[in-house]
């Protein structure tokens, strides 16, 4: 079979990419970029000047060859024929990232922030490139159908997702383990494993396919999109099952984000209690942060606890994948209890999850960023530039407003900051950040405190580059995933995942609330 289609499609895709690059480089998109930036600097200017040029040229060259060349059966024909579909997906991902997602953000920001959360509606609903990429893919396949010349290439989207999951390992480091208290490990361990087990059990009782149960269990148990993507190949999940899981998690998280702070206030929970509860009960990282900030808009203590619980979940991911690998083989192949677990793991354990662990280990060595980084951000006050040290005027403003600070820890951190003209320790940094958020010292002091915080917080360039790669790979993979989801496949999957997700999510939320109230007594 000859896979390469004699079509001008790839050539045209290349021309479109080059046109975007040319228009951006010659200022033809300046007005539109200004509109999308909503008063700030447009974030993707540099990308627009380079990425479409490289991929545009590649597409034009290979596209011309596909259009006019002679093609014969073989490995070269098979693999090179995927380029047209891959570039089609990439073009859609470009449009989503550069234009569609920012446009949605502009519309959302024009509607104002939601209540006490301090966040815009698109942030709270998780309307980012993940969701929009899947939706774009679904619209294309159901409204226009995937063109013949692109079909082979759509199948490389999973390769992109796997590569993205491996690179996720670079964003974390084992130094974070030091910060994890015994409580977070025990609670998260119990609730993650409990939720996974419960979804699998309910899935079996309600006769949903093993692949659906498996992928939903990882999504409901661990942490949303990354866990869903990482576990999907292990249980051979279909595209529609992955999309259903992501949808269930996001919808559930939106409900929790609004309900959790109300319940927390009704019960008079402490910041630590609420952080632990939100970090356990809510699945998506952005939504955990939204709920924590809604509960404590004037500080970051709740957010810090919630973040620690969140990290613990990510680190459990490889264990869950291992479990699902063994579970899936046992269920699918109807083998008895005598199954050789070692053999199953060797045969089925996904190598790409080992890749995630490998890059996590490399990240821990400090190869990509100082070893104490978290998602690329790290504290370092040893090299603060003279221009970023606090000035006499700033010291005077802070000293004049220092009497407004009531909390002892904040008073001490502020005194040290005034003395040293820069933040002294990583703990002081967290305290000063909380003080700035609380706004008790007034607007001007708040600005000065935030500057002091920024002076000692650095973003590692390598991690920033990795985050860009991961975003692109996920955007690419999810657009392709969306292109494999037809309306009929959605009907086939039915409403069971949402029911199971809802029951398990509610059980986890209620039980974790009880445990937090019984076990966590620490108050701030």
């Amino acid at each position: 079979m000859v896979y390469t289609k004699k079509s001008p499609a790839l050539f045209i895709i290349g021309v479109i990419m080059l046109a975007i690059w040319y228009a951006a480089g010659n200022g033809m998109l300046d007005g539109y970029m200004e509109h999308l930036a909503a008063g700030k600097k447009y974030k993707y200017g540099a990308e627009l000047m380079s990425i479409p040029m490289y991929f545009g040229l590649l597409s034009v060259v290979i596209g011309a060859w596909q259009w006019f060349g002679n093609h014969t059966e073989g490995a070269w024909d098979y693999y090179s024929s995927t380029v047209a579909g891959a570039m089609f997906i990439l073009l859609i991902a470009m449009l989503v990232r550069w234009f569609i997602a920012p446009e949605v953000a502009v519309i959302s920001m024009s509607m104002g922030k939601v209540g006490d959360t301090g966040k815009y509606i698109h942030k709270l609903l998780g309307l980012n490139y993940v969701v929009m990429g899947i939706v774009a893919g679904i619209v294309i396949v159901n409204v226009f159908k995937v063109p013949e010349w692109a079909k082979n290439g759509v199948r490389v989207s999973r390769l992109g997702l796997k590569t993205g999951v491996i690179l996720l390992g670079t964003l974390y480091s084992a130094a974070e383990l030091k910060n994890l208290g015994g409580l977070s490990i025990v609670m998260i361990g119990f609730f993650v494993l409990g939720s996974v087990g419960m979804v699998l059990w309910m899935g079996a009782r309600r006769n949903i396919p093993n692949s659906m149960g498996g992928v939903l269990s990882a999504g409901m148990g661990v942490c949303g999109v990354s866990a869903t993507v990482a576990s999907a190949p292990v249980v051979q999940a279909k595209s529609v099952e992955i999309a259903y899981t992501i949808g269930t998690i996001l919808l559930w998280g939106v409900g929790c984000m609004f309900l959790f702070p109300i319940i927390g206030n009704l019960l008079g929970m402490s910041y630590v209690q609420f952080g632990a509860w939100a970090g356990t009960g809510i699945l998506n990282s952005a939504q955990v942060a939204g709920a924590a900030l809604a509960y404590q808009p004037d500080g970051i203590e709740t957010l810090k606890v919630a973040e620690i619980f969140n990290i613990t979940r990510v680190l459990i991911l490889p264990i869950i994948v291992l479990w699902l690998a063994v579970w899936y083989v046992k269920r699918e192949e109807n083998v008895t209890e005598t199954v050789n677990v070692g053999q199953v793991i060797f045969a089925k354990f996904p190598v790409f999850v080992l890749g995630f662990i490998l890059l996590f280990a490399l990240s821990t060595t400090g190869m990509f960023a100082p070893a104490n980084h978290y998602k690329g951000k790290y504290f370092d006050n040893s090299n603060v530039k003279a221009s970023k040290m606090m000035t006499d005027e700033q010291i005077a403003v802070l000293s004049a407003n220092a009497h407004l600070v009531q909390r002892e820890d904040r008073k001490v951190a502020l005194a040290r900051l005034i003395d040293g003209r820069k933040i002294a320790t990583i703990d002081d940094d967290a305290t000063i950040r909380g003080l700035a958020n609380s706004k008790v010292m007034g607007k001007e002091s708040g600005k000065i405190l935030k500057k002091a915080h920024k002076a000692v917080r650095h973003t590692a360039k390598k991690i920033k580059a990795f985050r860009n790669w991961i975003t692109w790979l996920f955007a690419f993979g999810l657009v392709g995933l969306g292109m494999q989801i037809t309306i009929s496949s959605m009907k086939q999957a039915g409403g069971q995942p949402a029911v199971i997700g809802g029951v398990v999510g509610l059980t986890k939320a209620v039980l974790s609330l009880v445990v937090v109230l019984l076990v966590v007594s620490e108050t701030i």
């Binding site: 896979y3 082979n152 199948r155 390769l159 590569t163 996904p350 580059a465």
Partner: protein, 39 residues
């Protein structure tokens, strides 16, 4: 999506999951080392 390919599966162009995993690992390592040396 129908499986109308004589190689790979409906979800992947590779013959086996393990082959796809190794390809993903190779790509990820190439990216990781490129980033390491470029920044």
């Amino acid at each position: 999506m129908e499986n109308n390919f004589d190689k790979g599966s409906a979800l992947s162009i590779f013959g086996s999951d393990r082959k796809e995993d190794f390809m993903a690992l190779a790509f990820a390592l190439i990216i990781a080392f490129s980033v390491y040396f470029a920044y």
